[in-house]
Symmetry: C2
Subunit: 366 residues, 2 copies
């Protein structure tokens, strides 16, 4: 089967969220199917409106080209380079010309576009939808026509776009593709979809120590989700592990296993072991307690000044006490002493904050 | 000033309705302005959705080219060929390419498009609007950008499209054009806009006798509208004439004057006089009464079988009586004996129907 998945090169770094898709493509590739890794260098200029509540800013040709290169450099950490067809949709979408684009636009109605959840919401709430955003699903659907796709993969949020591909193939006399949607991976905050713009991601090129540390920072609940979507362990093995943790085994063991698996995949077993050793040494040195208060502060995605955070987390009685602590080198984030009184922490992450010798809190900013 | 008006070559024959626009262009031309007669050979492929309740079928390139030639052949019966710039919008709209078309589409929102009356109505009533219909006003507006238009003329129904041109010019750093809308001329039925598809039109290339006869067939009310929109007589002269008719002068005199003026314009004074003479001779021969019952039958735009018409107009007691009359050569339409028992009359016209020697009716089918 000809199996296609498209990625708009709008973000230069691939993260674990993308790999949910890539892993499935690799499985299908290993089963002998023909995988087409489609770079949406044309559709990227439009900007996929899926799940957005505002119109995306358009990318320039240069940005798209640079991002496309990063994509192909990184995706072959997972896919087999020799057996993957890389295609660029500008090839056939540019060739359509302005009249071809109009003919394409004639194949769908405004009403069917406005049935789409995110468009419907934006229209109802008076959020602007630019006319060209209606052309995105049509352009993506036309990719399936041009590539004679038998199957298209995408995130669950891509369902509408994938179905448009079926309609257009039917209108062009082709057998409509099957569509296969995969769940979207939550980011480190456990709430939002993993995405670079929310800064809640683990890039697949991140250093072993960074990658392992971030994976160790996620909540236990999120860990099982990551097991399901990222681990290559059989599902029954994961179920057994979860059972053990529910019966008293320290979930930290499971988290270490997951972190080791992922780091080993993108680096090496040796790098994974080194990352673990380093993490444990630091953990010992900083003597963080196993249990500490956990809390979530909603910042609406904005950064939060550290003294504010300390006060809200109950670590200090006031922001001025927090500032004094920083001066005295008595405030630590993830074990590191903070020297900058103006430090503000990004949302979408969990931090272990230590005030003085004994006060700890695990704070998630969303 | 650079004054532009666009015409999509979707109908091969120009009719008096078009000349309301052309006459104004000619006036402006005579005042020394630069007139651009724009042939929408690109926009014609989209099809102007203005005032439509269904999506137009797209025209082929060949049809467009043939129609465009007819347009330029005919428009110079009114405009001065030597001082008119003829432009084709495929020149810049084709050059946009598919990415240019997308950038153009990004300049307007779906909500603003759906504010347009005809789109709003269709959307509310569940009539399909194809996505490419949203591209029409943008393409027309882009014409004004490409042509650096100072003024654009159009029918009153074109107001939305003309305003889009202003917006796009502003976005391209140009001074927005002034827009000038002119009333739409009603067709021979006095109800609908004159249009070829409704068969209620007088083509500007029609033979003198046909043209004069059709003008003599319109209602007195419609005659004053035609005076206002088609005659070159000064408005105060027309007002005086109307006054005279209201004070007892036979409106037929005014109708003859109008018919003579129009026929002379597109043919010659001599042809106009000949048409009048022929008309009067025929009128005398057929001895139609000056006054006869007038009625309107709504057929929903469909043809109506002549026997049905006779019965509904009270000219015969039954359809079979009408059929007998046809056999006996006793039924006349506009003075001509009807021989065809299956004759059905087109809607959008007024007919003088005579049954036997003395029964007459002036019947309008709508």
């Amino acid at each position: 089967m000809r199996i296609k998945e498209g990625f708009d090169p709008t973000r230069p770094d691939l993260h674990l969220g993308h790999t949910v898709q890539f892993n499935k493509l690799r499985q299908l590739q290993d089963l002998g199917h023909h995988i087409i890794f489609l770079i949406g260098d044309f559709t990227g200029m439009i900007g996929d409106p899926t799940g957005r509540n505002v119109t995306r800013p358009p990318l320039s040709r240069d940005e798209l080209d640079a991002n496309a290169k990063t994509y192909t450099d990184q995706v072959f950490l997972i896919l087999d380079r020799d057996r993957t067809e890389v295609a660029f949709n500008s090839k056939w979408l540019s060739a359509l010309g302005s009249d071809g684009m109009i003919r394409l636009a004639s194949r769908y109605t405004v009403a069917r576009m406005l049935e789409r959840d995110d468009f419907a919401t934006r229209y109802r709430e008076g959020q602007p939808i630019a006319v060209h955003e209606f052309l995105y699903p049509l352009a993506q659907g036309y990719d399936s026509v041009a590539l004679h796709a038998d199957v298209e993969l995408g995130g669950t949020d891509q369902k509408f776009n994938l179905l448009v591909g079926r309609d257009l193939q039917r209108q062009h006399g082709q057998e409509p593709q099957c569509i296969l949607t995969l769940p979207l991976l939550e980011g480190l905050d456990g709430v939002n979809k993993m995405s670079k713009s929310l800064d809640n991601y683990i890039a697949i090129t991140e250093a072993p120590g960074e990658m392992f540390g971030k994976l160790m920072s996620i909540s236990d609940t999120l860990m099982w989700r990551y097991y399901e979507l990222l681990s290559f362990r059989p599902l029954d093995e994961i179920a057994k592990l979860k059972q053990e943790c529910e019966s008293g085994r320290n979930p930290r063991d499971a988290k270490v296993m997951l972190g080791q698996e992922i780091v080993a995949r993108f680096h090496s077993s040796k790098a994974a072991e080194a990352a673990l050793a380093e993490f444990e040494a630091r953990f010992r040195d900083h003597a963080q307690p196993e249990n500490m208060p956990e809390l979530t502060i909603a910042t609406g995605g904005k950064r939060l000044a550290l003294p504010q955070l300390c006060k809200q987390a109950g670590l200090t009685a006031s922001t001025s006490e927090a500032l004094r602590l920083i001066e005295q080198r008595g405030l630590k984030i993830d074990g590191d002493v903070v020297a900058d009184k103006t430090l503000a922490l990004a949302a979408g992450r969990t931090y272990v904050v230590q005030a003085g010798k004994r006060k700890f809190a695990r704070v998630t900013l969303t």
